[in-house]
């Protein structure tokens, strides 16, 4: 670890002349106590950047999880091309030096008293609170569904974790071997990586074709509303690809219950419930805020984001309007889009820059435009590098990559580039 830090530091010094823009980071001498609730992608990235930008501050991160998952890789595990080991790392390896890590879950938020309480009963006061708890996968909200069913009876779900994603890959392979009807879809709630349900549909189609079994499987995608994707040009492109690949789409179908024994799924439809038989189903659970957030005063009090407990936040600054010393970053933030690691990559510098500016007596000016990214895998070896903002404008990072074209170079970025960029982000370096 020491050697690694030395090598990285030495090379950073060597490139400092070229990277003047990145090296010109503002700092604050503030001795504030910053508490970060959650050591996921957002929490670790915040801790890394804050540690460097506020050298005199006390930074405490609170999370019980010892393992850290590169969640964007779950799709590739579900595709059968990565293994769980490729996405599993230790939280400790990304914990910045000089940050206090309290290895306990946050059980209660008390923003009126500027404190959080851990599951072990420890009460921690703060000057500033960064809520980066992530979200809760609410499998229980689907009648008959349980995480333990994943990989059995034709049930798959790549969201639950690396082991479940691997079990899902095996379930897809068995489905392709035996044939039948495969159901896919997404929940009606806000969700992380909204492209993943589409990706796993494309991957199943591609794998069936490569094995010469496409004629034996019928693939149906159940969209929760009138679109398969919320960004209009991407929606049009995916629909075009689905039609070309003989993937049927049912609109306004939201999964309510499954009967694993009978292999039947019931959806809430426009005109009442609809029950579909299946041989394979990829379940994407409804998602909501974790209990500690849900039961706190932090969530939206009304509006579309209130029901599931997403934290009220200004969409440009991620600052809580009722508790100005509280920020929400990552999946838990109640903003219109942005439950991806790519969003975190852009949210964290905005929050840190603004906090540093404020504690140094300058006016906070950084703005988050809702950037998010979805490398839409459309088969093994090809993807569309879709990037967009709050307004649904496509915002491609690379002028030579058409975001609506299936390209190997986009797959190259997904398969070889993203994990390194993600790790650099966790260290606050990208």
């Amino acid at each position: 670890m020491e050697r690694r830090r030395f090598l990285i530091g030495a090379a950073a010094l060597a490139t400092v002349g070229l990277g003047a823009e990145a090296a010109r980071a503002y700092t604050s001498d503030s001795r504030a106590h910053v508490v970060i609730a959650g050591a996921g992608a957002a929490g670790l990235s915040l801790a890394s950047r804050l540690r460097r930008a506020m050298p005199n501050a006390t930074i405490t991160i609170v999370d019980a999880r010892k393992e850290h998952y590169f969640q964007p890789g779950f799709t590739l595990i579900g595709a059968g091309v990565w293994s769980p080991a490729d996405v599993t790392e230790r939280t400790l390896d990304y914990m910045p030096r000089g940050v206090e890590w309290i290895e306990a879950a946050v059980a209660e938020f008390d923003p009126e008293a500027n404190a959080v309480v851990t599951a072990t009963g420890q009460r921690i006061g703060y000057d500033f609170l960064m809520v980066a708890t992530g979200l809760k996968l609410n499998y229980e909200a689907i009648g008959g569904m349980d995480v333990s069913l994943i990989g059995r009876d034709g049930i798959a779900s790549i969201y639950a974790g690396p082991a479940q994603a691997q079990a899902s890959a095996a379930a897809i392979d068995r489905f392709i071997e035996t044939g039948g009807v495969g159901l896919f879809g997404r929940p009606a709630t806000e969700m992380k990586c909204a492209g993943a349900p589409l990706k796993i549909t494309f991957i199943t189609d591609d794998k069936a074709r490569s094995k010469g079994r496409r004629g034996a499987v019928e693939l149906i995608y159940n969209a929760h509303n009138q679109a398969v994707f919320s960004v209009a040009p991407v929606n049009a492109k995916v629909r075009e690809l689905f039609a070309a690949r003989d993937i049927a789409v049912n609109y306004n179908h939201v999964l309510k219950t499954i009967d694993p024994g009978a292999k039947r799924a019931t959806y809430a439809g426009e005109n009442g419930d609809v029950t579909l038989d299946y041989d394979f189903i990829h379940v994407v659970p409804p998602m909501r805020a974790p209990d500690a957030v849900l039961s706190s005063p932090l969530p939206w009090q009304d509006g579309a984001l209130a029901a599931d407990g997403w934290i009220e936040a200004d969409k440009a600054t991620l600052r809580h309007p009722r508790y100005p010393n509280v920020f929400a970053v990552g999946d838990i933030a109640g903003v219109p889009r942005g439950k991806t690691a790519a969003s975190v990559k852009w949210q964290v510098p905005v929050v840190v820059d603004n906090l540093v500016a404020e504690t140094a007596g300058r006016a906070p000016q950084a703005i988050y435009n809702g950037y998010t990214s979805c490398p839409m895998v459309t088969g093994i070896g090809r993807a569309m590098l879709v990037e967009f903002d709050y307004d649904g404008n496509l915002t491609p990072s690379f002028p030579f990559i058409d975001p609506l074209k299936e390209l190997w170079v986009s797959w190259l970025i997904e398969e070889k580039g993203l994990h390194g960029a993600y790790r650099a982000m966790l260290r606050g370096r990208a």
């Binding site: 990285i8 990145a22 070896g381 990072s397 190259l412 070889k416 390194g420 650099a424 260290r427």
Partner: protein, 125 residues
């Protein structure tokens, strides 16, 4: 693209490649030194660099051509995944890494041989 500055690119590469970044950097230094040494030997022997350069270009081109179909395999797919010109462009750029290494190695060996042959001829006269 504005977010990609040399520092962030370095850290992304360091995190992506791990120790291999330093292996590649070391190899590049060794091969670069080999090229310089080859040029100096040729100059000392009064020989032109044309033949070693041609040998290096041919070897580098062959190595690049061999590695182009292997690049998609490195990304867990096959040559059929290359569809658009930009795909081929990036496959070629990546294949140029071993291609350049091969070319540099061949240049050093050919330059040494060429310079040695000249000194043998000079010595016999």
């Amino acid at each position: 693209m504005s977010d990609f500055n040399p520092t962030s690119i370095y850290f992304i590469l360091a995190e992506s490649l791990g120790i291999w970044l330093w292996v590649l950097a070391g190899l590049a230094v060794v091969l670069g030194a080999g090229i310089v040494a080859g040029i100096m030997r040729l100059r000392a022997a009064g020989r032109p660099a044309r033949r070693p350069t041609m040998a290096a270009l041919i070897a580098g081109a062959i190595a690049t051509a061999i590695f182009i179909p292997l690049v998609p395999m490195w990304t867990l797919t096959d040559i059929n995944a290359l569809q658009a010109p930009v795909d081929y462009l990036f496959a070629v750029l990546i294949a140029l890494v071993p291609g350049c290494a091969t070319g540099a190695g061949i240049f050093f060996l050919a330059a040494r041989k060429c310079a040695a042959r000249d000194s043998t001829i000079t010595g016999s006269v």
